[in-house]
C-alpha cells in the first residue's frame, strides 16, 4: 500500500544544558495507508520525538517528512491547519480543556475553523455517539474517568475528518481493562472510518493486541520494522520473537530428543503438525513452553517442542523438517 506518511533521513537534535542530545538519528520510515502502525521502544528511544515531528510540535533538524508525497515541515497558516485536520493526535494524559464541557472540547477544532455552531454541535454529538459517550456532552472533564477522557480525546481528534490518528502513549495512563477497551475502540474506528493509526507505546502487550505493523526503535534509530505477518514468518526477526515470546523453562531436552523453536503464524492451520509428525513419522513430541496470541488479526503461536528422534534414521529428521516447512512453520534457532 502507498505510504501515507514518509520520513526521509530525519534527524532531531536538542540542546539540553549546553549538550547536544540526538533524539533521532537519520531515520527513514514509511507508514502505509490503512495500517495500525505500532512503534515500540523504551523511554528515550526517540518515539515521542518522532510523533511530535508528525504533528508539527517539533521541526526536524535535518531530513524531510512527507504526507501523501508533499513535504509538511515548515507548513504555516491554512495549509498547516489543513494538515492538522487530517493528521490528528491523542495524548497519554488526554489533554482535555478543563474549563470546557465535553461537547465544547470535541467541537473546538471545528469552532476554531469557523464552522457554524449548529453544524459543529451536530457533528460533535455524532462523534460522542461513535466513541460511546452518549449523554456525557454537558459533563466537565474532571467528572470523567480516564477511559472516558480518552474517548473524548478521540472524538476531538476525529471531528475534523482526520485520516491519520497519532496516538502518543494513549493507553499508558489507563488500567489493563480500560486499555483493552480503548484499543478495541481504535480498531473499530480504524475499520469503520478507514483510518491509519500510528501508536507509540512502550508496551508490547498494546502492540500485540492492536498493531498490524510494528517498528522497534532504540537510541533514535529504527532497529526493525515490518508487518506482523512478515515478521512472524522471518526466522531471524527479533521483533517476530518479541511479539511471541516463549520462555525457556531451563531443562535441556532428554537424551536423543531434539528441541525446536516453532513459530506458527496461524495456529488453526498449522497446529496439526504434532499429530502429523506422529502419524507419518511415528515421532513423539512434547511441548516445553509456548503460547498463543492474537496478532495482526491472526491467532499466532510459538512453541518450544522436543521431538523424540531416538532410534530414528537421520532421514526422519529431514522429513520432519520438510513437514514443518510445508506448513510454513518457522523454525527458530534451537535452544
Amino acid at each position: 500500500m502507498n505510504p501515507v506518511l514518509q520520513l526521509r533521513d530525519v534527524s532531531k537534535t536538542f540542546q539540553r544544558a549546553g549538550e547536544e542530545v540526538h533524539a533521532l538519528r537519520s531515520l527513514s520510515l514509511d507508514i502505509p495507508e490503512g495500517a495500525f502502525f505500532g512503534i515500540v521502544g523504551t523511554s528515550g528511544a526517540g518515539k515521542s520525538t518522532l510523533l511530535r515531528l508528525l504533528n508539527l510540535l517539533e521541526r526536524p533538524t535535518t531530513g524531510s517528512i512527507l504526507f501523501r508525497g508533499a513535504p509538511i515541515t515548515g507548513l504555516q497558516g491554512v495549509p498547516r491547519r489543513d494538515y492538522l485536520s487530517q493528521v490528528a493526535t491523542i495524548f497519554q494524559h488526554f489533554n482535555l480543556f478543563h474549563g470546557k464541557t465535553v461537547l465544547e472540547n470535541v467541537e473546538l477544532p471545528l469552532a476554531v475553523r469557523g464552522i457554524a455552531r449548529a453544524e459543529r454541535r451536530r457533528k460533535a454529538l455524532e462523534l460522542l455517539d461513535l466513541v460511546g459517550l452518549q449523554g456525557k456532552d454537558n459533563a466537565y472533564p474532571s467528572q470523567l474517568s480516564g477511559g472516558q477522557k480518552q474517548r473524548v480525546g478521540i472524538a476531538r481528534a476525529l471531528i475534523s475528518n482526520a485520516k491519520v490518528l497519532l496516538c502518543d502513549e494513549a493507553t499508558s495512563a489507563l488500567d489493563t481493562e480500560t486499555t483493552q477497551l480503548i484499543l478495541e475502540l481504535l480498531l473499530r474506528l480504524k475499520s469503520q472510518l478507514g483510518l491509519t493509526v500510528v501508536l507509540i507505546t512502550h508496551s508490547w502487550d498494546v502492540v500485540r493486541h492492536a498493531a498490524d505493523s510494528v517498528t522497534l526503535m532504540q537510541d533514535g534509530r529504527i532497529v526493525e520494522t515490518g508487518n506482523v505477518r512478515d515478521l512472524l514468518h522471518d526466522a531471524d526477526s527479533y521483533l517476530g520473537r518479541q511479539l511471541l515470546p516463549a520462555p525457556d523453562l531451563g531443562h535441556a531436552p532428554a537424551e536423543g530428543w531434539v528441541r525446536y523453536d516453532l513459530l506458527l503464524a496461524d495456529v488453526r492451520q498449522q497446529s496439526t503438525i504434532f499429530s502429523e509428525a506422529a502419524r507419518l513419522l511415528g515421532v513423539t513430541s512434547a511441548v516445553v513452553s509456548g503460547g498463543v496470541e492474537r496478532l495482526g488479526g491472526l491467532d499466532a503461536a510459538r512453541f518450544k517442542v522436543d521431538f523424540d528422534v531416538r532410534d530414528q534414521a537421520p532421514r526422519v529428521l529431514e522429513a520432519l523438517s520438510s513437514i514443518l516447512r510445508e506448513k510454513s512453520i518457522v523454525l527458530g534457532k534451537v535452544a
Binding site: F91, F97, H98, K100, R113
Partner: protein
C-alpha cells in the same frame, strides 16, 4: 451642637467611603486589564513558550521588576509629574488612580503570568495540534483554562488596592484612610477611626468572599 460630637462628621465618612470605592473600582479595572495584557505578554514571549520573543520578554520583564521594587509611597511621589500631566492635579481620588495603577499593575501581571504558567503544557500541545491561531489560543484556551487562578489573583490585588487607597490618602487622595487620619487621629475621634476600619474590613471581606465564591462555582472547570 457639641463640638466634640463625632456624628457631625458622618457625612464626611460617606464621602470618604465613596472615594475609596471609586478608587478601588476604577484602579481595579485598570490594573486588571493592563495586568492581564502584560501577564499574557510575559507568558507568550517567554523562552520555550507559545511564541518566544526574547527582546520583548526581557524588556517587559525588566520594567515589571523595576515597578515592583519601588515602594508604593515613593512611587506616588515619583509619579507626581506624570499625575499632574494626566489628571491636571496630584491631589484627589482621580489623581490617585495614576499611582495606584502604575504601582499595582506590575505585581498583578506577575500573578497573572504565574496563573498562566499553571496551565499544563500538555493542554498547550493539544491546542497546537488543533491548529489554533494565537488570538484563539489566548481567548479560547489560555484565559478560560487559567480563569480560576486569575480570579484568585484579582482578589489579592483588589484587597491590596483597598490598602493602597489608604496609603494614597495620606498624601492627599481622600478616601477612608485619609478620613481616619484627619478626623480620627488628628482630631482624636476614636469612634471615627473605628468606623473607618470597620468599613475597610467589610470592603475587604466582600471582595474576598466574592472571589472565593466565584472560584468555588468553577470547581468542575479546574
Amino acid at each position: 451642637m457639641n463640638a466634640r460630637d463625632w456624628t457631625q462628621y458622618v457625612p464626611d465618612f460617606w464621602d470618604a467611603l465613596g472615594q475609596t470605592l471609586y478608587m478601588t473600582a476604577l484602579a481595579g479595572v485598570l490594573v486588571i486589564t493592563i495586568g492581564i495584557a502584560l501577564g499574557l505578554l510575559l507568558y507568550l514571549t517567554a523562552p520555550d513558550s507559545w511564541s518566544p520573543r526574547p527582546a520583548i520578554y526581557h524588556t517587559v520583564n525588566t520594567i515589571v521588576n523595576i515597578g515592583r521594587s519601588i515602594p508604593f509611597i515613593i512611587m506616588i511621589v515619583l509619579l507626581i509629574p506624570l499625575t499632574r500631566a494626566v489628571v491636571g492635579t496630584p491631589l484627589g481620588p482621580a489623581a490617585a488612580l495614576v499611582p495606584l495603577t502604575v504601582g499595582f499593575t506590575p505585581f498583578f501581571s506577575r500573578l497573572v503570568e504565574a496563573s498562566l504558567r499553571e496551565v499544563d503544557p500538555g493542554r498547550i500541545d493539544a491546542a497546537r495540534v488543533i491548529g489554533v491561531t494565537t488570538p484563539q489560543f489566548i481567548f479560547r484556551i489560555l484565559l478560560p483554562e487559567s480563569l480560576s487562578g486569575i480570579i484568585g489573583a484579582a482578589t489579592i490585588i483588589l484587597v491590596g488596592l483597598v490598602e493602597g487607597t489608604a496609603v494614597a490618602g495620606a498624601i492627599g487622595a481622600g478616601g477612608l484612610g485619609d478620613f481616619a487620619l484627619t478626623y480620627g487621629y488628628q482630631r482624636w475621634f476614636t469612634e471615627l477611626i473605628a468606623i473607618a476600619v470597620i468599613a475597610m474590613v467589610l470592603i475587604v471581606q466582600s471582595i474576598q468572599i466574592s472571589g472565593d465564591a466565584w472560584i468555588r462555582l468553577r470547581k468542575h472547570k479546574r
